[in-house]
């Protein structure tokens, strides 16, 4: 037993605010002023483990609770405690001799608290997730197999209130110097959380705008289909991350919120096909001209049903005054429902881009003034009736997606090939909750269906995992 450290812990610890009188009481100000520490007769610190199946010792700490006002009743002079710490794997026994009542009880328990403190040496977490994709398009386009994403998660807890989380992502496995074709290495998240209370915390760093579902939660086994939903690519530009700061928390038992100010989008990257996607600054020396506000409200009225609403609002001029503010709005709503063996989710998102005409004139694009998309997805766990006792999951799912990146335009007519809808039909087999083998066939359709942009399809196979 490390007596000094335990005493230090107890000394700092035994400051208590008397909530009835409002006064602060201090038992000790620092550990050298702790004569009571030596008053206890610490013995048998290195006793061997009790014999197998020895009768358990119980520690009884009597107290009295009366209308939220609790007072101690015990007059016991001797308290015996035993605790097996994870670290030492040795039973430690503290027998306290004759002291005044408060030191008898408080000190040995403080020693135990010290033990608990001592057994925590590292609070750093390493985790990972990743996914392998095999895509085989219909027609003449060639198929490809790609380890699309490999992410390393690194988190650290500094104190009860302060923690750090980060994700480093390597896309497409290889980055070679001098090669224009290749992968991408990026920091997808890196933030400090300062949690003041459950209802409010401060978050600062590279954050995920909490819009839609996949942007916040994209570990591959948590969604169906090899590829992420198209709506979460071209309408909500997932994975969307920007530098910023804000608050988060939950309230009234069933609500949670996030509200951040982050670096805005950059209109020079907007395209007709991929919407806002190219406008993400990705926290790379971000232009701070257009601080943008993003947030999310979550609500769960009954177990298994989750409702969410989210938004992103801000300019996208990135300091280029000739295009105006190029204000962007994006609103989204989502529903999730889980009730074994069924799962269901739906996401809708709609956005506008101000000054689209100026953006198009400046950057030679055909960016829309408004865009929208939605999807609905249902799944049924086949093992629920094929093998009811199995812990595995074999979800048969279907997803319908509709998305139009050129819903309305200024100065020209919208093009039908950007009015698209997908149908994804597939299976997700999960031997554990955090591993998945995926198979699906995706029908890719558009309202034009011409020789230049035909309706087509694609077979997808994939593997995904995560662990923390």
């Amino acid at each position: 037993m490390h007596l000094p450290s335990a005493c230090t812990a107890s000394a700092l610890f035994l400051a208590w605010e008397d909530k009835w009188t409002g006064s602060k009481q201090y038992l000790f100000s620092s550990w050298p002023l702790l004569p009571a520490c030596c008053c206890g007769n610490v013995s048998g610190a290195d006793n061997p483990l009790p014999p197998e199946d020895a009768p358990a010792r119980a520690v009884v700490l009597p107290g009295r609770v009366h209308k939220n006002n609790f007072t101690l009743e015990s007059q016991s002079e001797k308290v015996q405690l035993s605790l097996q710490t994870k670290r030492s794997r040795q039973a430690q026994r503290f027998v306290l001799g004759s002291c005044s009542l408060w030191s008898t009880l408080a000190i040995p328990l403080s020693l135990l608290a010290g033990t608990v403190v001592a057994q925590v040496e590292s609070t750093t977490t390493v985790g990972s997730y990743g996914e392998l994709h095999y895509n085989e398009p219909d027609g003449t386009r060639k198929g490809q197999i790609d380890f699309h994403r490999f992410v390393i998660y690194l988190g650290h807890t500094f104190s009860e209130q302060l923690s750090f989380g980060s994700e480093i992502e390597l896309e497409h496995t290889i980055i070679e110097a001098g090669e224009s074709e290749g992968g991408e290495l990026s920091i997808e998240q890196a933030f400090l959380d300062y949690r003041f209370a459950n209802s409010i915390g401060l978050r600062v760093g590279i954050l995920l705008p909490p819009v839609g579902l996949i942007n916040l939660h994209h570990e591959p086994p948590t969604f169906h289909g090899v590829e992420r939903p198209s709506v979460d690519r071209v309408i909500i530009p997932t994975t969307w991350r920007e530098s910023g700061a804000g608050i988060y928390g939950n309230f009234r038992n069933d609500f949670a919120y996030q509200l951040y100010v982050v670096a805005g989008l950059d209109a020079s990257g907007f395209t007709v096909g991929n919407g806002l996607r190219g406008g993400r600054q990705k926290a790379f020396q971000s232009n701070s001209t257009n601080p943008s506000v993003t947030g999310r409200l979550d609500y769960s009225p009954v177990a298994g049903l989750q409702l969410g609403g989210s938004f992103f609002l801000g300019g996208s001029s990135a300091g280029n005054d000739s295009i105006g503010t190029a204000f962007v709005t994006l609103w989204s709503g989502d529903v999730r429902f889980n009730a074994d063996p069924f799962t269901f989710r739906a996401v809708g998102a709609s956005g506008t881009i101000d000054d689209a005409e100026s953006i198009n004139a400046q950057f030679g694009q055909t960016v829309a003034s408004s865009f929208f998309g939605y999807y609905v997805e249902g799944a049924y766990n086949l093992l629920h009736w094929m093998a009811p006792e199995s812990e595995h999951v074999l979800d048969l799912f279907v997803r319908f997606e509709k998305y139009n990146t050129q819903a309305s335009t200024t100065g020209f007519d919208p093009l039908n090939q950007y009015n698209r809808h997908d149908v994804v039909l597939g299976l997700t087999y999960k031997p554990t909750y955090n591993t998945a083998f995926k198979f699906d066939y995706t029908f890719l359709n558009n309202a034009l269906d011409s020789a230049a942009s035909p309706n087509t399809g694609q077979l997808n196979l994939g593997m995904g995992f995560y662990f923390f």
């Binding site: 009481q25 609770v65 609790f70 009880l105 609070t123 989380g165 177990a303």
Partner: protein
């Protein structure tokens, strides 16, 4: 001074088996750690009205009992002691309150499970949630699934207890933790405080 002592004792009863977080916070003089014992007692007070006495018990699992827990409970305890608060009125035990921690994605979740003397779940509360995401486990609507459950119900994540999309790890950890407590209480039923 009695007040101070009582508060200290209760803090430590909770922190004995509580996460590294609160113990560290307390040692560094952080205010939030102090809320844990209060929260646990508030829970006891809310669930069992006009409680006269609450005693804290640390039950140590024997090697045989630990093995039985590992075999039957789908999960195991960190360490080998279980902290149980026992509220009483008129010398009658009103139930058991078990304070436990499970690991979420990268931080500990501290929670309390309240059961009747017959080991039926009466209430559940997250005392401290520290993860950046997955806070949906603090939703009362989700927690109410545990109410009325018994040790023989065998609570499997995603089956008997619904999964939470976006909070899979936390919901899973808490579900397995509650199941482990119920299962362990059944194993220890013969020597629970009466």
């Amino acid at each position: 001074m009695d007040m101070l002592l009582t508060a200290t004792v209760w803090y430590l009863v909770v922190s004995l088996f509580s996460a590294p977080g609160p113990a560290r916070g307390a040692a560094e003089g952080k205010p939030s750690g102090h809320k844990l014992p209060e929260k646990a007692l508030e829970l006891v007070d809310r669930v069992f009205h006009s409680v006269e006495e609450v005693s804290g018990h640390a039950l140590q699992l024997s090697a045989v009992e630990s093995a039985e827990v590992r075999a039957k409970c789908m999960d195991q305890w960190r360490g080998d002691s279980i902290i149980i608060l026992v509220p009483e009125r008129n010398d009658t035990i009103l139930g058991y309150v078990v304070v436990d921690n499970v690991k979420g994605k990268d931080q500990f979740i501290t929670y309390a499970l309240v059961v009747t003397p017959d080991l039926v779940v009466r209430d559940f509360e997250i005392l401290a949630y520290r993860e950046p995401y997955g806070y949906e486990v603090t939703y009362k609507s989700w927690q109410e699934q545990f109410f009325g459950k018994r040790p023989e119900d065998r609570l499997r994540p995603g089956r008997e207890i619904r999964n939470i999309s976006g909070a899979t790890i936390s919901a899973r950890a808490v579900t397995l933790g509650v199941n482990r407590i119920l299962c362990t209480l059944r194993i220890l039923q013969g020597r629970l405080p009466r």
